[in-house]
């Protein structure tokens, strides 16, 4: 199902020595290296990723609670129970919000920035500063946001301090009905730099004379973006979209720490799928079957989004 997910770049032309006229003996000797070189990676990959993933799928059909309990296979019962569970429903909706709205928000922001950054002074420095949140541990970011968004009259966090200092009233950012949106905004802020950087790297490869010609022809910034930037960075946009999905589906520590106390899972309305899995396995009372079922949902969700993205964005790459 997911074979089309990540095609290696330029898998079309294998630069092997195959048909290039090198001595056949040499080619054969080199090919003997293949298995010794690849084996360690394949073994580790198989043992730590492929087998556990399959095991998770198998366990998701059981009602296993955890160590000391004998798993009984109950078909789709775990899934049925899970889908009617409040925690899961919240987690599912929140995760969808983060993937879709977060993705749209981040990419709109990133595109707006590329329009400006392209021919701006000091753009290398600006890019480096915008990128910085991406090398900060999500736990640290979450704790940091927790203090920034604090609501307590007379002892406001930075966000409310700034609001009050311009005469607005303080907001209870981390309350039930706003926390999802606050987290969404924080995620967009923190990750925008990464996508700006990726897109800008693609934009930098576009020959400047295209923009000059467009300017002489009187094109507006939007027209330049629509007719030059977007078509020429299309393949990178596709890859960036896939990366966004992969990263957004596993959002965990940031929300866990930002919306909660750190030791126990945060209130149920803030959950993401990652938090649900953690809560059912290592957080509260263990329910490994349910946790595995949720993990399977995560994998399915990634696959669906990635395949859909690649379908939607499939377009012939423009050579330039």
């Amino acid at each position: 199902m997911t074979t089309s997910v990540v095609t290696p770049p330029a898998s079309g032309h294998q630069p092997g020595a195959g048909g290039r006229g090198t001595p056949a003996a040499h080619v054969a000797r080199r090919k003997k290296l293949f298995w010794p070189f690849v084996a360690p990676t394949l073994v580790l990959y198989g043992l730590f990723l492929v087998v556990p993933t399959l095991a998770t799928v198998v366990l998701s059909f059981s009602n296993w609670r955890g160590a000391g309990d004998t798993p009984q296979f109950t078909g789709f019962t775990q899934y049925a129970q899970m889908f009617s569970d409040d925690g899961f429903q919240n987690a599912f909706v929140n995760t969808l919000i983060y993937i879709t709205l977060g993705g749209v928000g981040t990419f709109v922001l990133a595109f707006l920035f590329t329009m400006v950054l392209r021919d701006m002074r000091g753009n290398k420095m600006v890019r480096a500063i915008l990128f910085f949140p991406n090398i900060v541990a999500p736990v640290a970011l979450g704790m940091f946001f927790g203090v920034v968004y604090r609501y307590q009259p007379n002892r406001q966090g930075l966000a409310n301090y700034l609001l009050e200092s311009v005469g607005l009233s303080a907001v209870k950012f981390l309350e039930a009905d706003s926390v999802t949106w606050v987290v969404l905004g924080s995620i967009i802020w923190a990750s925008a730099g990464f996508y700006i950087t990726i897109l800008m790297a693609a934009v930098d490869r576009i020959p400047p004379y295209l923009y000059e010609d467009a300017s002489i022809a009187g094109a507006s910034p939007w027209q330049k973006f629509r007719n030059i930037t977007l078509p020429l960075t299309w393949d990178v946009v596709g890859i960036a979209g896939v990366l966004w999905t992969i990263n957004a589906i596993k959002i965990f520590e940031l929300v866990f720490v930002m919306a909660g106390s750190g030791t126990y899972a945060p209130p149920i309305h803030t959950w993401t799928l990652g938090i649900f899995v953690f809560d059912r396995s290592f957080g509260g009372t263990p329910a490994y079957g349910a946790a595995c079922a949720c993990a399977v949902v995560m994998i399915v969700l990634v696959s669906v989004f990635v395949v859909a993205l690649r379908r939607l964005l499939r377009r012939d790459a423009i050579q330039f």
Binding site: P15, L49, V139, R150
Partner: protein, 313 residues
């Protein structure tokens, strides 16, 4: 800054047309662009405000690590004073360092991250070379198969891994965690390095074989040095990723003596916020962020191009 850029462009177009002979690296905006300058001013303003905001946030974090809770919330933008007046400017850091046992955690993390990053590259580089340059049938699909691993959320594998690691007594063990770190970092690293190896020219390999170098020797003394940039980038990116990794550390480490920094910080958060030790809390955040900040300032370009390479081409 934005005004200078603007005024230079307007003088350029009101006078004579900009010189178009010698193409400058960043060409001046052509006459047409001047029409939409209000929009551009807004755009530049937004970008600079956003950038300034990021700097403000960093400033706030570093300053707050030297403040009392009262100062953090009452005077968030001013310079720290109280702790300096008391003559204990590093009080928050000392508090965090001692109560979260950051000392051991720091050592654990440095060793773990260093060993794992090196092992990851040592395992990935031959695989990436074999997959991208030996022309063995099936390497394309195999590369794709490994790359798919990048899309597997860790939550999918933690439960079976936790059970298996407990069975073989590698749970709550830094060596066990290191094994997991290495294995789970392979998909990204192999993917990144295949890109690097693929971009190398064929001729050198051929020349080496004509000179009679063995295949292994060609790899060690010709191809690896050529891909040095890629290897270093892979090393740095893995080091950053593992330094910040939290989920696996939470699941697989239970004893304080084994904690990594991110893991210790996670536990410390609860205690510190319960005691309203916001200064200490942010000092803890600073302890984990500052080494990365220093590394980032030194290596920003390589980190950025590396990540972009991994993502883009």
């Amino acid at each position: 800054m934005s005004t200078t850029a603007l005024s230079s462009s307007s003088t350029g177009s009101t006078g004579q047309p900009p010189p178009r002979r010698k193409a400058p690296r960043r060409p001046k905006p052509a006459p047409g662009t001047q029409r939409i300058s209000p929009l551009r001013v807004i755009g530049l303003t937004v970008v600079w405000l956003f950038t300034a905001f990021n700097l403000l946030v960093l400033y706030w974090l570093i300053m707050a690590a030297f403040k009392t809770p009262l100062e953090i919330f009452r005077e968030p933008l001013s310079l720290p004073a109280t702790l300096f007046e008391r003559g204990t400017p590093f009080r928050n850091f000392v508090y965090a360092w001692e109560s979260a046992e950051f000392g051991t955690a720091f050592l654990n993390t440095v060793i773990l991250v260093a060993v794992c990053s090196v092992v990851i590259v040592l395992v990935s580089a031959p695989a990436a070379y074999a997959l991208s340059r030996l022309g063995v049938r099936g390497s394309g699909p195999m590369t794709a198969f490994i790359a798919i691993g990048m899309g597997v959320p860790f939550q999918t594998v933690i439960i079976p891994l936790f059970i298996a690691m407990s069975e073989i007594d590698l749970n709550n063990n830094l060596f066990g965690l290191a094994l997991i770190y290495v294995a789970l970092s392979l998909p990204f690293t192999v993917f990144l390095l295949t890109g690097f190896f693929r971009s190398l020219p064929d001729e050198l390999e051929e020349a080496a074989s004509i000179d009679g170098a063995s295949a292994t020797r060609t790899f060690w003394s010709i191809m690896l040095p050529l891909a040095r940039g890629g290897l270093i980038t892979a090393l740095i990116l893995n080091a950053i990723g593992l330094w910040n990794e939290t989920l696996l550390a939470i699941v697989f480490l239970q004893e304080n003596a084994n904690f990594t920094l991110a893991r210790a910080l996670f536990t410390f958060y609860n205690a510190a916020s319960y005691q309203s030790e916001y200064g200490g809390l942010l000092a803890g955040v600073a302890i984990i962020v500052l080494p990365m900040l220093v590394m980032y300032i030194l290596l920003a370009r390589r980190i950025i191009t590396g990540l972009t390479l991994g993502a883009g081409k």
